[in-house]
Structure formats: C-alpha cells, structure tokens
Point group: C2
C-alpha cells in the first residue's frame, strides 16, 4: 500500500488526516468566508485578510511564513525544512483569490457562507465561491502538512509554499515577484494544485495545459451617444463594427482566422489521440452536463482534443449601448469586448496579441478608433511524460483512489507553470482534486467533501513518495 518512507511513517499521518477532517473543514470554511475577489478593487482588504489568515495557519504548523506585499494583492511565502537532507525540495503553489460571484441571483446558497450539502448524486459537497478554485485545493496540502507535523514533528521533504492573490485577475505581480525572489523560491520542482480529477474515482496528473492571452478592445465611433432616428443609416455604429470583427474571428469550420494564429501549433500524436479516445469521453456526455449537445469549435476533432490540445479564440464579455430595462433608440458612442485566446504548443502570446490587434485595426473604419487593454498572457505548457517525479506522484495517487491515476491534458491556463519553467527553470507536477461539475467561475461553485478529504491523504502520500528518493 504505502511506499517505503524516508523515516516518517505514512500510515499514522493518514490516520491523523482522517481524525482531523472535522476541524480541517472549519478551517477551510473560515478561508472561504473571506470574499477575496481579486479582479474587483473593492475587495482588496478581504484579499489581504485571506493572506494574513494563511500566514497564521502556516506559522501554527511550524512554517516560517510571511505576507509579502506587491503592487497588487499580497503573496504568501512560507518555508519548512525536510526530515532528510537528500529528499527533494518542493515548491507548493496555490491561489487564495477567487472569481467574482455575478450573476449573484443564480446562486442557491450564499457564495461566501460555505456549507456542507448533499449533491444530486448523494455525495457530500462543500458549497461556496473558491471551495474548488482554489481555496479548498490549497488547504488539502496545508492539512497534509499539519498531519505530518502533528505525528512526526516535521515534513518528509523540504517545502516552500507560494500562495498568490491575483490568479483570477491575470497575475500582474507574479512575474516581478518571481524575478525579485527567484533564489528564495527556486526548488527542485513545483507542486501545483489547481486542476481536476478525471472523474470522482480517478485522479489525474495534467501534463499539458493551455496558455492564455487576454485582451480588451474598445471601439469608439461618434463622440457621443446618438439618437438612432436622426443618425441611423448614416452614422457608424460601434456595436456593428465590433460584431463584425468578432464574427470574423472564426470561419465556417470553426477555425480561428487571425493571421498566423496556428503558428507553433502541432497536431497531437496519433497514439495520444487514441489514448484519449479510449477514455470514453463523447460530445454528448461532455456537453450534455452543461445543457449542450453539439461541439462548436473546429470541425472534425473530439471534445478532448478541442479542449486539451487545440487553441481557441473566445469572447468572454461584450457590452455597448443601452442594456437596461426597456428600450432606448440610441447609437452608442462606443462598444467593447473582452477576448481571450487559449494557446497550445509553441504559440507565442506576444505574437498572438499583436496579430489580433492588427486583425482588429484593419477592420476599423477610418473615422473610428480602437483602443486595447492587455489582460495577461502566458504560453501553453507540455510536460515531459517520462519524468520520474511524475511517475512517483502517479503511483501515490493510484494508491489512494479507487482507480489508477491518468496523465491527461488540461484546457485551462495556469500561467504560473509557464513562469516557473521560464523564470525558475522548474517543472511543475499538476495534481488537483476538482471535478468537472464543480462550477468554478460560475454560480453554485462547490468542492466534493471526498476531494477535500482524500486530497489531503493524496498529498501525504505524494510527499512520502517523493521523499523516498
């Protein structure tokens, strides 16, 4: 069952995790109650409160922990020595900030009043914004460390912890912080807990994940809002211009039409596609869970390939003109959209951004203007399948869960993984216990109680396996 340890027996640690569960829930509830929405400046004080709370928790279990200011929301950095000098030094990363909660009226529970509920399938869940993304996840690691400390007075590996408070708002402070503190943060590899399981019984390690480029464009036509009776038919309508640009971004086959967009995108090897094929995922199942049925992206590709290995262009928000109750016959002065690109392979975020801007500029009438606002960028990541660290983590996960762990792709971006790679020369092991129906970024976010409990046990096993050398 458990692997050979480097001196710190695993089984009593697992037992202590089980005994601590009720108290560990109280702790994660405290964290979830803080509305640490990083994208909205109105919640800055709550972000700091969450960081301070985490520092107090980590100090309480023997870490040398501190809140570290940035121009934005603060970082949490903590250090703990390992029991054996030859065990690896790991950097654990998570983020304490959360997404906004709108539309608030669609929540069945209070987003910042976490509770244990029973889900539709009878499984216990923890409800609340951030339970799955990423507060519940990062706490699985903290609680694993707590159990080690309580049983053995130490940790099997040397551990550095980095908790970020701006992951949901483009991580503006991350790179400068890594740059300024590279010596302190550099470890043998990173453990990143911000991903999902394959299903409720099957853990997964994400070996590839998509990058992200965020752009906001604002088109200005007339210098004021216009009456559509006086000016309609003669004056430029920025919503029309914007709609045309957004519609132009995809061709009839769902391919992105921005020039050179697919530069650096390799076709996924046939054998990998076949492995994914064997997972039994279908468009009906994948999309059926969210009330859809038809894949909408590039034609002729499976939903797993589309979401794990293909780049996208998505409009994440659009606004212009009168959007209140009733009707207003106005031609708006301006209209804007937030657009993001998911990147794979060697797509260059800077080139994608510039090509998109040129694509937009070329479609703006001579008497109108466009302005751009950058919202972060990071390349896609593909981790080496043959690393021994990955293999150890895979075996440890397979020991804990009913089904063996899978190596999968990831549709989402975790920019920090790219930054760890390029700035600290450090690979990341991506292990997380989210589930596809956790509704992260949506109303009614939840985290499975089983994920929270067995997640803690999984980290105890992984630390044990990594220390075994």
């Amino acid at each position: 069952m458990s692997s050979a340890t480097a001196g710190l027996a695993l089984d009593p640690v697992l037992k202590r995790i089980d005994e601590n569960l009720t108290d560990s829930l109280k702790r994660v509830f405290e964290l979830v109650r803080m509305p640490s929405i990083s994208t909205d400046p109105g919640y800055a004080a709550d972000c700091r409160k969450a960081a301070e709370w985490l520092v107090a928790q980590l100090k309480g279990i023997g870490f040398d922990a501190s809140v570290r200011d940035t121009p934005g929301h603060p970082m949490v950095v903590a250090h703990h020595e390992g029991a054996a000098a030859d065990a690896p030094h790991v950097l654990f990363y998570g983020h304490y900030d959360v997404q906004p909660v709108d539309p608030i009226e669609l929540w069945d529970t209070e987003p910042f009043q976490p509770a244990i509920k029973t889900g539709p399938d009878g499984a216990k869940i923890i409800t609340g914004r951030g339970t799955a993304d990423d507060k519940g996840q990062l706490m699985t690691f903290v609680e694993a460390c707590r159990a080690y400390k309580e049983i053995h007075g130490g940790l099997p590996c040397k551990v550095t912890i980095l908790f970020e408070g701006e992951e949901e708002s483009g991580s503006p402070s991350l790179k400068p912080f890594l740059d300024a503190n590279s010596e302190e943060l550099k470890a043998d590899f990173a453990l990143v807990c911000d991903t999902s399981m394959w299903d409720a019984n099957t853990p997964a390690i994400s070996t590839g994940l998509r990058g992200l480029v965020g752009e906001e464009i604002t088109i200005q036509a007339a210098d004021r809002d216009l009456h559509s009776g006086y000016f309609g038919g003669a004056a430029a309508n920025p919503i029309h211009i914007l709609s045309k640009i957004l519609a132009d971004m995809h061709d009839a086959d769902g391919k992105v039409t921005i020039p050179n967009f697919y530069e650096g995108v390799d076709e996924t090897p046939k054998e990998i596609l076949e492995q994914w094929e064997n997972l039994g995922q279908t468009a009906e199942k994948f999309l059926g869970e969210i009330g859809l049925a038809l894949p909408s992206g590039e034609k002729g590709r499976s939903v797993l390939e589309l979401t794990w290995a293909r780049p996208t262009a998505e409009v994440n928000g659009i606004i212009g003109g009168y959007t209140g109750e009733g009707f207003k016959t106005v031609i708006a002065a301006k209209a804007s959209a937030k657009v993001s690109f998911r990147l794979v392979g060697k797509q260059d975020p800077a080139a994608i951004r510039e090509n998109f801007r040129e694509f937009v500029r070329s479609r703006i009438p001579a008497d109108c203007t466009v302005s751009f606002h950058e919202h972060g960028g990071s390349p896609g990541i593909q981790l080496p399948y043959d690393s021994t660290v990955l293999q150890k983590a895979k075996d440890a996960l397979s020991d804990e869960w009913p089904n063996p762990a899978l190596m999968i792709g990831m549709g989402g971006s975790i920019p920090v993984v790219g930054d760890f790679q390029t700035m600290l020369g450090m690979d990341s092991v991506l292990v997380g216990f989210g589930l596809a129906d956790d509704r992260i970024h949506s109303p009614n976010e939840k985290y499975a109680l089983k994920s929270y409990h067995k997640g803690q046990r999984s980290w105890a096993r992984i630390l044990d396996a990594l220390a075994a050398g």
Copy 2:
C-alpha cells in the same frame, strides 16, 4: 407680417409671450426637475407627478384638464373651446416622459437641475434631460395658449391636448387609449411638437418620418456560465452566435440582408432628392458634428436620403458575459441585444419583426435557444405635400423666423402620428424647434432659449393662421 385673424389680434399675443418669457422659463424648469424616465419602473411616481403638474398648469389657463390612468404611465387630456365656430379643431400632442440619463458621468450639469447656460456658439441654452425631448417643446404650445388667454380670454381654435408619458418606452398604452377615447380625441388634424428645425434660423415641417420596430433577442447556450479553459473550443459561446447574427444583418454595401426587408420601400422621387441636394448638407458637415466623417449605411446615397428616406437595422444595445473591471475567463450562458429597425414607405412592422425573428432563428445552433421580446412597432409616415393646413403652418413659421420654413423628411419615429392616421383618420402637422446639436437621448441634452421663445411665438402665429379659415 401677421395674417388676417379670426377676431383675436395676434400682435398683442406675441408681445405678451415676450413679456412672459422669464416666468415661462420658471415653469419649464419645474417640469424638467421631475425625473419622469418612463422606461425605468423606479420613476413611475415622478411620471405621475409630471402629469399632475401639467394638468394643474392647463387648468390654470382655462382648460378642462385631467390625469387619465392607463396600465402604464398616465395620459394628460385637456379641452378648450375656440373663439370662432368655423375655426378648425386641433389636437396638440407632446410627451412628458424622458430618456434615461446614463452614462451619468458624461453630463456636465445635473440632468434634472435645469439651468440657463451659454453654448459654445454664444447662444443661450436650457440644459437638462427632456428640455428638447419633449418638455421644452410641449411647453411652447402651452405658453402660446397662456398668452392668448391672458390677452383675449380665449383661443382662436378649438384645442384638445394629449400629453403622453410613455413615448420613450414604446408607447404601450397609447393605442388602447386612442381606441377607448377616439370620439373625445378626434379633431380635424393634429399638431405634433416633437421634431427639429432645419437649422437655428430655418424652421421646418416634417412631411415624412420613419417608423420603428424594436426587438430584444436573448440567446441561451449552456445552462450555466462556463470556465473557458475547461469548455473553450467545444462549448457554444452565445456571444459568438449573437455577433455572427448581428454581423450578418448587413452586406458589404450596407444593405440590410433580412429577407424581404425592402418590400414596400420606394425609391425617393428624383426631384425630391434634388431639393434635398440643394440644402447643402454633406456627409462631412452632418457627421463632422458628432466626430465622424464617413457615411456608414447603404452605399451611394446622401446622408439626408439615408436618414430621411431609407430604412435601417441598428443594434442599440448588447450585453453578455463578464463586463466588469478586470477579466473573467468565462463562456457566458447567454447574451442579448436590443435591435431596432427604422421603417419607411409601406414597410410592414409586423412582417419586418417576423422576418427578423426567422432570420435569427435560422442562425441558432440546434442545442441553443433564442427568445424574443417585443419593444413596440409603427409604420413610416408620408404626409401629403399639397395640404392647405401644411401650407398655412409653413407661412406662419416663415413669418416668425429669419428664413422661410422647409418641408423635410425625418429620420426618427413618432409612432403617434401613424396611430392618429390609422385610428383617428387624422393627419398630423409636425412642427418642432429642436436643433441637431440638442443631444437628445444623450448626456448634456439642451434646448435653445431662442427655440423656447420663438417656438411659443410660432404656435401663436400657427393658431392664428389656422383660425383664419
């Protein structure tokens, strides 16, 4: 100068209007201070207050006036006999409701705290929401009646007044009200004061005006907001679907592509186009005032033809996904747009609406849905150029203003004119004193003080001319 009267001398009435100007400004200020925004239910009490204030004013000058309830905002109806039995009976129409004020931060003055300011050209202006559309305009008629009453104790014509409180929100109660009160409201013709002058020295009578169809469409894709990392590339994005539909509405030449859209649209006669050509309006002048330069509608037509005699499809508002500060990598569950069509000639509002809906439905993927919300509809109007009533009004206006009055087209819709025609068999004489730069429906709406003053004098002259038989 003044025409022959039917017993009530005109000159002392004009003199009294001049003497009353300061007090008449106090009165219109009182009305503008009431935020009677009809499209927002939160202002219902203010709408009623405005109606009650108007009734008090009209009673004060001898009208038999009352507030008349509707399922929405109330109507004001008032009656006054004429001095001569053979003078015509006129129905005067205006509306006391106003547009919303957003974006409020773009106002230089408080929208509901009217003030006299000096405009950039040195002319005095009255600032505030509704000063031009339509409170200032309707008060020009009330003040003309006041002066007649004060000088002669009566009015030259029999006058019925109808003030509506839902003009800016699709006039849902108007047709039922006209239907239920047709006997009471029927007159020989209507005087409608909701239009503009050609320029600050040149009055105009609008003989054609465009109709309007308002539609709101909401596209629903997934049953919840989605994380664009997990689902991006596979799940339908309703903003993409909506953008495509809106982009599809016009072809590369600016023509509307909705099937049968141009059914009932006649080409404007060559001689009329030539008359308009001679007015000296250019795209540079017309659009230059609002910071634009290039006509954006159907190619190969002048801006006057585009705005007076051609139908349009315009998006007046669009919203979907995350539109707050920062960025949210969400794929929205739904997206919606408010779309309006300006109609001319014999275009049928019901057919346009149904053809548009079919156009939209045919572009909705099978696993997504669309819902429609109707926001009013009215056909375009073309008044007979050869009517003697129009001619009298034209002459009266030419007596008051530096330049002779013009007969022009009108880009905006005044649905009541169509309703008067179809339901009460009554033509309308469209006379108003707005100016192109009044910024109606926009921040910093204003009304020229000269419009307010000479508008009153114009109505006194028109009533005099009409009574002359």
